[in-house]
Subunit: 324 residues, 2 copies
């Protein structure tokens, strides 16, 4: 199959591209290296099934012009700002990188007649809800520009899919971690501990508790729901997550344990959120995705530990270019 992966040089995109190439597909990647990294995709360069475009998808005309002759069987649209905290300081970040990239991808599909779409949405579309999050609960009130831009993207996807007979799968991702991660709490803790091994500043009160999925579990689900299972016309939304969840303090504990930092004094900044727009706690209802026959192989705590171990193994490699 001929496949377009937007954001294919990013954290999740790279792992997806590797899997798609492994399966023998032709893969076109579009990325502008905002969060994606050239080093992530260098390894694919010699594969004749791989082609790369350095383009900002938010600039529609350039993007449409470059790909107007292409025939894609399916588009995986992963390009987005994924740093919620960064976007909270300036709404144009998520407007451009999260929302405009989506509208322009939909418009490309309409123009070139591509009918299959995978979209990476997020738990942030739900906002701050007390109940278990099931896909069809209503009254969604995203509290970050990122969540608003993703929910707005879902809205445009609904109307484009109906008007143009797309078959669309939307995954609402929880926190995703693993090799090549570019930012987030694990990243912050390790950097802070490298600077000061005795004390660790933790944003909020440490009780913020979210599910963390290991990136290879997520790739497994994406490929299963878009290639192994027939995609049906219309839009299907799935919470793609793990049943368990990990608190910020537990993450700190795992980081200290795995990296050998002892007697670290935790200093909490206080309050129940890390920053304005942060959703402190959530848990998915996973009935829908489990019913199709997919379950994550690792718990949230295991995903955190595995990620920390991966970093530890690569910390002293002179060629290590994943994280910092």
């Amino acid at each position: 199959m001929k496949i377009l992966v937007t954001g294919g040089a990013g954290f999740i995109g790279t792992h997806l591209v590797r899997e798609l190439l492994k399966r023998g597909h032709e893969v076109v990647v579009v990325d502008n290296f905002t969060l994606g990294k050239e080093e992530n995709v260098n390894c694919f360069r010699d594969n004749s099934n791989y082609k790369f475009y350095n383009l900002d998808i938010a600039k529609g005309n350039e993007f449409w012009e470059a790909l107007k002759e292409k025939k894609f069987d399916i588009v995986y649209h992963l390009a987005a700002n994924s740093d919620i905290q960064k976007g909270s300081k300036n709404p144009s970040v998520d407007y451009n990188d999260t929302f405009m990239t989506t509208v322009n991808t939909l418009e490309l599909m309409r123009r070139i007649g591509c009918k299959k779409l995978f979209f990476s949405s997020t738990s942030a579309v739900y906002g701050e809800k007390q109940e278990l999050l099931s896909e069809n609960i209503g009254d969604l009130k995203p509290i970050s520009y990122y969540g608003g831009a993703k929910l707005a993207s879902e809205s445009f996807i609904q109307s484009y899919s109906f008007m143009n007979d797309f078959s669309t799968v939307i995954f609402r991702f929880p926190n995703v971690i693993g090799p090549n991660l570019t930012h987030g709490v694990i990243y912050d803790f390790i950097r802070k501990l490298q600077n000061n091994p005795n004390e660790l500043e933790i944003l909020g009160n440490g009780t913020q508790t979210k599910p963390y999925i290991y990136v290879f579990d997520l790739i497994d689900a994406i490929v299963k729901f878009t290639l192994d299972i027939d995609m049906l016309q219309g839009v299907e939304i799935y919470n793609a997550g793990v049943e368990s969840a990990t608190s910020v303090t537990t993450i700190a504990d795992i980081v200290c344990e795995e990296l050998g930092y002892k007697d670290v004094k935790y200093h909490y900044t206080g309050g129940n959120v890390g920053w304005k727009g942060d959703v402190p706690k959530f848990q998915y209802d996973l009935t829908k995705i489990h019913n199709v026959g997919w379950t994550a192989s690792k718990t949230s705590d295991e995903a955190v530990r595995e990620t920390v171990r991966y970093i530890k193994e690569h910390l002293n490699e002179s060629s290590y270019n994943g994280w910092w």
Copy 2:
């Protein structure tokens, strides 16, 4: 109060501006006469509390620059494409006129520090649902670019409202009719009957049945919920509608009856929708808005009849400039 009305030269906007000026407020109108008409607002020109800007809000920089020194107590954001059928042929219509106008209005509010917003949303955000539409049902799948753009607008409004402490009221309008209407089924029927008084082509099978609200009932509700009742921080969404509904065939009957066309042969194009993206039937759950103490004064059928009568009275006026 100092008030901004976007789309203030449009069908609903004009009536709102008149009411706000009558109450003694200072009103700034921004409109680019895409659907709005200069004749609609000419009557306000001599009012020293009224100021008009001819601007396309979808062009953010021009809009922000023109109003950057203004202090508004509240913004009524009505600017939008309201012709769903027109937008179904080209997604850029609703992208620009319905969605971009909203994002740019939110960004203006953030920049100048305005904290109160009224937004005109639509029943089209619900898509095609079988159940009674209550504000908090989930799994919304808009089937028109217009509905997608309005739901995406609501998503951005949620995140902007949270991040910037706005007090926001969203009304989801049903079909709105009355003096100054610019398009829609009543308009089409009268034009067709003027061309051929013996036969009337009806899109679909005539059973499409929707609630029609009289524009003055809607203005009454808008003013009540934004000026007479204190707006609370956060976003409140209301279905602003009437309990009853009118079928397309009934509209044809009322038009023929009121305009004196007899023995008209109806020719149905068939199918249960007028065009792709049309929602053939819906009915609102109005519990929430009724509980605050507001109910429409006219039924849907009465609103249709009143609108047809208004047109009849003005059909032979040489100065009539409302409709065509």
